[in-house]
């Protein structure tokens, strides 16, 4: 965990909308029951967009931000892009913080 990683992760988490999205992705079945497909690759942008109460472009931007920080991964399936939590990164960050803060 470099200082740069830490910086982008904390900056990503400093926004409430992004924290909400990350929290929602913990329970896709509960938070996004409307999604037709299964949750193998996570949740698609449209679902998150509808729940967030923000514009589509804003949500897309937030997701890109979370992904640059390494907190989520994405996978395109046809015309949809699915996002899911990167638990490894999230746990590593929480551990690092607990240890060094």
């Amino acid at each position: 965990m470099t200082q740069n990683d830490l910086d982008s992760i904390i900056k990503a988490l400093s926004n409430p909308a992004r924290r909400d999205i990350l929290a929602w992705l913990k329970s896709p079945e509960i938070e996004f029951p409307e999604q037709c497909s299964n949750y193998q690759y996570g949740v698609c942008v449209g679902q998150i967009f509808e729940k967030a109460g923000l514009s589509q472009s804003t949500v897309s931007s937030h997701l890109a931000n979370l992904q640059r920080a390494g907190l989520v991964t994405s996978k395109r399936q046809g015309q949809w892009v699915y996002y899911q939590r990167n638990e490894q990164c999230i746990e590593a960050f929480a551990d690092y913080l607990k240890q060094t803060l």
Copy 2:
């Protein structure tokens, strides 16, 4: 730990200068060997200001920010104001994050 607490703590930590200050305060004897007085109440603003490479007003503002977030406490001793880490708050935050992130 309310959502407001979390928000102000993460926002406080999202700035590298404030993270540096908080890290320095972990080892006052090592990081601020120049301080004349003992470290009972922490480190005084002037010491932090000299180390930070930022203006006095900026450092004072960062310290106020950390204090509003609950991450440090301050105590005036004569004309000096000493800041020290609030370990209880810091640990509670790290634990909360580890649990809920």
